[in-house]
């Protein structure tokens, strides 16, 4: 048997105490007068003292008027649970309850049977109470004394003997226990082994051994050692981690600073590059200016050539006029010569008839010959001029033919370039069309997606509206239900006291119960019916005894009051306590009658507790009502939220919605292109497709425009080359016609040979003329003497002839001068033309275009200034300084890092943790094993 629980109430000095017992030895300790001995007495009372005995009167509490009660629970050898309940006051009572599980107990026996059964179970040598030889007062036996002696009864323990036991059960029990030890070696061996193990681990007082060599101490020391080591290592590790984190942070900062530095360097380099490009742009501008100047110079020279051509044409006409005048003057000269000859003939005739005749004949023949020579010479001169012009014309035709061939080749080249430019243009046009189609496709797709999303959003909005309506309907239903319940609650609350009133009633009830409890002292009424009679009694206003035919004597016991009705003859009311307390109770009962009972009557509630319960229920109803309203509010709020969301969705849908016409227009905007190709191109674009598409379109457009410009320029160049070919062809044809017309009347086709022949003929004729003149002058000299009168005429004629010749000479001189001037201008013009041809206007134009194109590359180029570059240099210096600063900090941290242990320390911490865990496991296993032996030993001894 072992005790499991003790509850003591109003037992001597103890008002109330409860305790649970553990297996094995239980020790109560505490200061004096705490009630330890009283608890031991209570155990003794529960086991050995009958409630109605004289011994029981010693347990009454002295400060208060109450019934001592003890409840002791114990477990027998079969693990059955027993509970002894004893009330040592009035009315005295005893009950023994039984349980198999220690939780639900059932009544086994009452009153005297309790003592009998307990003493039987104890087997302490104490006979059942009452009867012959039964113990009076506190039962005594050897085991009762040994096991439950009071602390002052040590002598009695030693002097007690089994022989004095009133019953043999104690003796038998001891004999059995000793026999168990003596006769069952197995039990003894197990006990001995358990005891040995216990002795190894525990002190005689049941404490774990902590002395030298104790396994607990070794295990515990090991745990402590590793705990200390781990604490120390963790401290070091924390320090190490601070340094490591700083190093990592600084490393990151250093990398960021390095990146900033690189970025600043890159920006500076870009700025410098930009500065160079700005310089290049300026240089390109200057080159364009130079090319323009060169082209304008060429143009100017061409203009000068053209002006010289015009002047040459005028001068040529002037020469032609002069030659015509000379011819006329030569004719006049011839006329004057003929007059001279006539005068001479007249003079000859006048000076000598025959001689004169002879002379005249000779002179006439000579003059005729001279005139014929002169005519031949003039013809030859004219032929010479024609041949010269024909030669010039041939030269011009050759030059024009060369120019024409060059122009034709240039035209072919331009034509090829134009075709290539056209092809490039077509290709860029197609690419542009495709890029535009991709962009349009993207916009169409986007509009389509937006349209789909708008549909989905609108559907969501509809769903949300429906949801909101459902919530509102539900909220309305809750509200209606709440209103109905509110009315119900109001009806149910009608007539019920308020909470303060109820509290007043509760207070009144408490005070009445206290006052009635103060009446306690105990009442005992014995009824001894003389014949069967109906008896009804109310004990302490609660417990009711009723017997319609009570025939045997019966004792009614109450604490404070008793109301007894015997048949319908008499009703007795007996109240305990002194007069003051009874009056107080009466007053309170009057108040109860006037204050509480009307309420009970009005509300139909039997008690304050029932009222309290109803009010609590109503309070819960209120709470539920509030919850219902709150729920309705929540539903309304959700409905409102749903509606707001629906409106947002509708707004969103309206924003997203796309006009079908617009959508169709967007589809049409894609054009008649292969959609798969467009979709494929579109798929290659990223999320920012529109920006990329726009950029692509711009790029394609730029390429198309560039190709367009090239095409246009090549077209113009081709047109210009064609125009030049046409002009040169015209020039060539004209020159060719001129040359042909110039050589049409010429004997032979080679003007140069003709010119040489004419020059030779002229030379011969001039010689013949000089001979004829000499002959004439001879004839004249011989006829001088005969001519006197005719001399004047002759002089006059000669003067006229001389004047005419002077004029011819002057004309010749003027003609020569003009020819020289013409030749000089022709030479000048030819030189200028050669220069112009060498300067190559087309090349100059092309160069200008090239340079313009080169300059066009810089059109969008931002202009970089030295100041901006200096700003970038300052930023670079700042970044370099920041990098240097962080580098210094990093090196400092690196120095600190070399003084910590890092990963090596982490490894040691891990080892230490493992060691600590192992030490703790070993300690726990030791403790469990030791506890197991202790538990076994205790259980063996207990049993």
């Amino acid at each position: 048997m072992r005790f499991s629980r003790l509850a003591v109430h109003a037992f001597r000095a103890i008002q109330h105490a409860e305790m649970d017992f553990g297996p094995g030895l239980n020790v109560l300790y505490g200061p004096n007068d705490l009630g330890k001995s009283t608890l031991a007495t209570a155990i003794r009372a529960a086991l050995l003292v009958a409630p109605g005995s004289a011994e029981a009167s010693r347990f009454a509490p002295w400060p208060v008027d109450a019934s001592p009660r003890v409840v002791l629970t114990f477990i027998d050898d079969d693990e059955h649970h027993w509970q002894i309940k004893k009330n040592f006051g009035s009315p005295a009572s005893a009950e023994l309850l039984h349980s198999k599980d220690g939780r639900s107990f059932s009544l086994d026996c009452k009153a005297r049977q309790v003592e009998e059964k307990v003493r039987q179970q104890l087997g302490w040598g104490i006979p059942p109470p009452g009867g012959k030889g039964g113990p009076k007062g506190l039962p005594q036996s050897f085991l009762a004394q040994v096991l439950l002696a009071a602390q002052t009864d040590v002598d009695k323990v030693l002097s007690q003997s089994l022989a004095e036991d009133p019953d043999v059960s104690g003796k038998l029990r001891l004999q059995k226990a000793l026999a168990t030890l003596a006769q069952d070696p197995l039990f003894k061996r197990v006990l001995d082994k358990a005891q040995d193990e216990m002795d190894a681990c525990f002190t005689p007082k049941g404490q774990r051994k902590r002395g030298q060599g104790s396994r607990f101490v070794a295990a515990s020391d090991s745990v402590k050692k590793y705990e200390q080591e781990l604490t120390q290592l963790r401290g070091q590790l924390d320090d190490s981690m601070v340094v490591e984190v700083r190093v990592r942070t600084l490393r990151e900062q250093r990398e960021e600073a390095a990146a900033s530095l690189r970025e600043a360097e890159s920006r500076l380099a870009a700025s410098k590059e930009q500065l160079k490009r700005t310089a290049a742009k300026l240089a390109a501008g200057e080159l364009v200016g130079l090319a323009k100047a060169a082209l304008s110079e060429i143009n100017e020279r061409i203009a000068r050539v053209q002006k010289l051509d015009a002047e040459l044409a005028a001068a040529t006409e002037q020469v032609a006029r002069r030659e015509s005048e000379r011819v006329q003057m030569l004719a006049a000269c011839e006329h004057a010569d003929r007059a001279v000859r006539a005068a001479e003939e007249a003079h000859r005739i006048a000076t000598s008839a025959e001689g004169a005749l002879e002379h005249e004949t000779q002179r006439a023949q000579l003059a005729e010959k001279l005139a014929g020579l002169n005519a031949q010479r003039l013809t030859l001169i004219a032929q010479q001029g024609n041949a010269q012009r024909a030669l010039d014309a041939h030269k011009a035709v050759l030059a024009a033919a060369n120019q024409l061939a060059g122009a034709v080749a240039d035209h072919e080249k331009r034509k090829l370039a134009r075709e290539q430019a056209q092809k490039q243009h077509d290709r860029t046009e197609r690419e542009l069309g495709l890029a535009v189609a991709v962009l349009a496709y993207g916009r169409w797709r986007s509009a389509q997606a937006a349209s789909d999303e708008a549909t989905t959003t609108r559907l969501n909005a509809t769903k949300l509206h429906a949801e909101a309506s459902a919530h509102e309907a539900e909220a309305q239903a809750f509200e209606s239900s709440a209103t109905a319940r509110e009315a119900d609650i109001a009806r149910a609350r009608d007539g019920l006291p308020s909470v303060p009133q109820l509290q007043g009633l509760q207070e009144l009830q408490r005070r009445l119960e206290l006052a009635e409890a103060a009446l306690g002292g105990g009442l005992s009424v014995s009824i001894r019916p003389l014949q069967p009679v109906s008896v009804r009694a109310t004990l302490d206003r609660t417990e009711v005894f009723e017997d319609p035919r009570l025939a045997t004597p019966h004792v009614l016991e109450a604490q404070r009051g008793l109301r007894l009705a015997i048949a319908d003859l008499v009703e007795l009311e007996i109240t305990a306590g002194d007069a003051d307390k009874r009056r107080a109770v009466e007053a309170l009962r009057d108040r109860w009658s006037s204050e509480a009972e009307p309420v009970f009557e009005r509300t139909g509630s039997p008690s304050v507790a029932a009222l309290t319960l109803r009010l609590e229920l109503l309070g819960k109803e209120d709470e539920e009502l509030r919850a219902l309203r709150q729920k309705a509010e929540q539903l309304r709020a959700r409905a409102k939220s749903s509606r707001e969301q629906a409106e947002l969705h509708e707004l969103q849908a309206a924003k997203l919605e796309c006009d079908p016409l617009e959508l169709a227009a967007k589809r049409e905007a894609i054009g008649e292109v292969d959609l798969e190709v467009v979709a494929g191109r579109f798929a290659k674009l990223s999320k920012a497709w529109e920006r990329e598409g726009d950029a692509l379109c711009l790029q394609r457009k730029g390429e198309r425009d560039a190709a367009d410009r090239v095409w246009s320029e090549s077209d113009k160049a081709l047109e210009l080359a064609g125009y030049r070919v046409t002009e040169l062809e015209k020039t060539h044809s004209k020159l060719h016609a001129d040359a042909q017309s110039a050589t049409a009347d010429m004997p032979g086709t080679d003007p140069a040979t003709l010119l040489l022949s004419i020059a030779q003929q002229l030379s011969t004729i001039e010689e013949q003329e000089r001979e004829a003149e000499r002959a004439i002058r001879g004839l004249v000299a011989s006829g001088n003497a005969a001519a006197t009168s005719a001399a004047a005429e002759l002089d006059k004629a000669k003067r006229s002839s001389s004047e005419a010749r002077d004029k011819v000479v002057k004309l010749d001189e003027a003609l020569e001068a003009e020819k020289a001037s013409l030749n000089a201008r022709g030479g000048q013009r030819d030189e200028l033309r050669a220069q112009v041809e060498r300067m190559d206007r087309n090349a100059a134009s092309a160069l200008l275009e090239t340079r313009k194109a080169a300059l066009a590359q810089f059109v969008d180029e931002p202009v970089m200034t030295d100041d901006e570059v200096r700003l970038q240099e300052a930023a670079l210096a700042k970044a370099a300084q920041a990098h240097q600063d962080i580098n210094e900090q990093f090196h400092q941290a690196d120095g600190a890092l070399s003084k910590v242990a890092g990963s090596e320390l982490r490894e040691r911490v891990r080892q230490s943790q493992d060691a600590l865990a192992a030490a703790r496991t070993r300690e726990a296993e030791l403790e469990v094993d030791a506890d197991a032996w202790k538990l076994l030993r205790d259980t063996l001894r207990d049993v």
Partner: protein, 385 residues
């Protein structure tokens, strides 16, 4: 990797690291700890024998050879004695300080007694610009750890291959590769260090398992040979050295060669049959076995399990079947529900004891002690009867 013909090999190396001499194994029992500590020294014999057997031109020991910078004499003296047993003329041995045994002022590397004990062919890498000409004009560059932690890549101190330099170039450092935890502060080694420095083989130490870093690159190899004897259960592939063969084209081939005595293994048994099978294994003698027993056994099985565990672990009188047993029996429980069947022949008084202990075993707080008490009762009563 296909082995190159022997006549094409111009350089043979043995690469080892992480001996961790003096390492404590406090999580184990005292005897087991001593076994494991001694094993770290004993494996040196097998490493040196492997060097001789393979006829290597040099032995590279890449750091963490001692577990702390200043180990006691009992650790460095046997190391020197072991080297002295060999009279190698053309086989230099290079000892590199690692982060566990850095080249501090009072470290073992500065101990003149230790240095004087070492034979001439053993060289301590005690400067940053360590350079040594090996056989066939090959050259070794090595950089020691000067502290327990550092953020600088030690390979940065190895000179780059100069144009026209056709020699076989070997590097040796100690640190963490890019993929290791905490590598930033534990001498980080760049993943392409061997390529960047123009090395034909980069010998490194720190991680205790055999690894090529990065694993996909075999030329030029960067290798952790791992610890020759494992130090923990969670290490992957420890217990080897790397034998390195470099051919005339300067291509290095790496062969892993096991030298460890101990194999570390972690095992869980969840039934008495598992435990019986474990006991029947014949390879337990060189095992460091962490055994988790998670089984709920009847009393006879529990008793048998105790005997089997005792057999595996050993007693004061008998060696255990397992070389080193790290037993975790926290989840070994006694099935008390069937205990009655085993105590039918017990006297009533002991039956009453059994009933009480079983009742106590129902209480979670008392269960471990109560189960153990029942087992003691069972075993003691069996022995007695």
């Amino acid at each position: 990797m296909t082995a190159a013909p022997e006549d094409e090999i111009v350089l043979k190396l043995l690469h080892t690291a992480d001996w961790h001499l003096g390492r404590r194994f406090s999580a184990f029992e005292d005897d087991a700890e001593r076994k494991l500590m001694r094993a770290r020294l004993e494996v040196l014999d097998r490493i040196l024998l492997a060097a001789e057997r393979n006829g290597v031109h040099a032995v590279l020991c890449a750091g963490d050879l001692f577990d702390e910078p200043s180990p006691s004499r009992v650790w460095w003296e046997p190391v020197a004695e072991r080297f002295k047993k060999y009279n190698w003329k053309d086989r230099p041995v290079f000892l590199l300080p690692g982060n566990h045994d850095p080249l501090l002022q009072d470290a073992v590397w500065s101990n003149t007694q230790f240095r004087n004990l070492l034979p001439d062919f053993v060289h301590i890498v005690d400067r940053h610009d360590f350079e040594f000409t090996l056989a066939n004009n090959a050259v070794l560059y090595a950089v020691p750890c000067m502290s327990k932690a550092g953020q600088r890549d030690p390979t940065e101190l190895i000179p780059k291959r100069a144009p026209g330099d056709e020699r076989v170039r070997i590097g040796m450092v100690h640190g963490s590769t890019f993929d290791a935890q905490d590598c930033q502060t534990n001498f980080p080694i760049h993943r392409d260090a061997a390529v960047m420095r123009g090395l034909d083989y980069l010998a490194i130490g720190d991680t205790h398992g055999f690894r090529l870093v990065p694993p996909e690159r075999t030329c030029p190899p960067t290798v952790y040979p791992g610890a020759p004897e494992a130090t923990a259960f969670d290490e992957k592939d420890p217990g080897s050295v790397a034998v390195v063969l470099i051919n005339t084209q300067r291509r290095a081939q790496v062969r892993k060669e096991r030298v460890a005595h101990w194999t570390w293994e972690e095992l869980t048994v969840s039934s008495i049959e598992d435990l019986r099978q474990l006991t029947r294994r014949t390879d337990l003698g060189n095992r460091v076995l962490r055994l988790h027993v998670t089984a709920c056994l009847s009393a006879p099985e529990y008793d048998e399990a105790e005997l089997l565990l005792e057999e595996l672990h050993g007693t004061e009188a008998l060696h255990g079947r397992v070389g080193v047993l790290d037993l975790h029996r926290g989840e070994l429980t006694l099935d008390t529900s069937s205990f009655d069947a085993y105590c039918a022949e017990l006297p009533d008084v002991l039956k009453a004891v059994v009933r009480r202990l079983r009742a106590a075993a129902e209480n979670a707080e008392q269960a471990p002690a109560a189960q153990r008490a029942l087992f003691h009762l069972y075993r003691t009563s069996r022995k007695a009867s």
